[in-house]
Symmetry: C2
DNA sequence: GTAACAGTTTAATAATTGTTTAACAATTTA
DNA sequence: TAAATTGTTAAACAATTATTAAACTGTTAC
């Protein structure tokens, strides 16, 4: 993932309403949710809703899908993982025992179980 | 981790210079790095350097430690993991096979190895 | 004590971002 | 076809953020 895209993704999530939207979509899984449902849950105006979806979409964090007159949005999990990998890349120079990222924990556990 | 703190952390990282600073510190591990070294590496003015360190510090992402006339900064790995956990919490309603967060991958691998 | 070094703080300016209102598509239902 | 529903777009305004220059606080070395 390119630095520029990571910055965009972080900026998109660095806003309370959008962070809430995103978490709802992460929880919802690949099928996503109808735009209006999310707006209702978070008490957003239609304009605010569209604005925030646009920012999240432009950052590559969510995807849009139209069904009839409803618009579904779903989290882009690849982008989420790309961002996390970028942040934790080469953590503690690669020594997992020190920094305990989710990844490092995994490789520790793998080693333990061997 | 509280939503407010997560937003602050994301906002702190959503800026190219600070993202670079943070990644250098993540790579450096718990001992951290001298402020001036980082500033030199990223060609920041002293004022810009202090400004960005303050934002990262206020977000809880880094810690400060003075040694003589040098100031060391180090990543706060707990905050990093807290932020990541918050973002990926309840991913796909808990079905790891779908969303493949680092955590979900871990538990899949654990299951396989059992 | 004075000078040099390492960082911080303050104030001013320029740029970006979020919210609101209103008007505008596109799709379905009557 | 007309009305209702779902969502988008555009313009205007208020608030936040990044950068720069200059003055300031400690710490070490001479």
């Amino acid at each position: 993932m390119k630095p520029d895209q990571v910055v965009k993704a972080l900026a998109a999530l660095a806003q309370p309403t959008r962070l809430s939207i995103y978490r709802l979509l992460v929880k919802a899984g690949p099928e996503g949710k109808v735009a209006g449902q999310i707006a209702a849950a978070l008490k957003m105006s239609p304009a605010a809703m569209s604005f925030h979806f646009r920012i999240l979409g432009h950052a590559g964090l969510i995807q849009k899908r139209q069904e009839g007159r409803f618009v579904y949005y779903a989290a882009n999990f690849g982008a989420m993982n790309g961002m996390i990998d970028y942040l934790t890349e080469n953590c503690c120079g690669g020594d997992g025992a020190l920094c305990m990222t989710p990844k490092a924990k995994k490789s520790n556990q793998t080693r333990k179980l061997k």
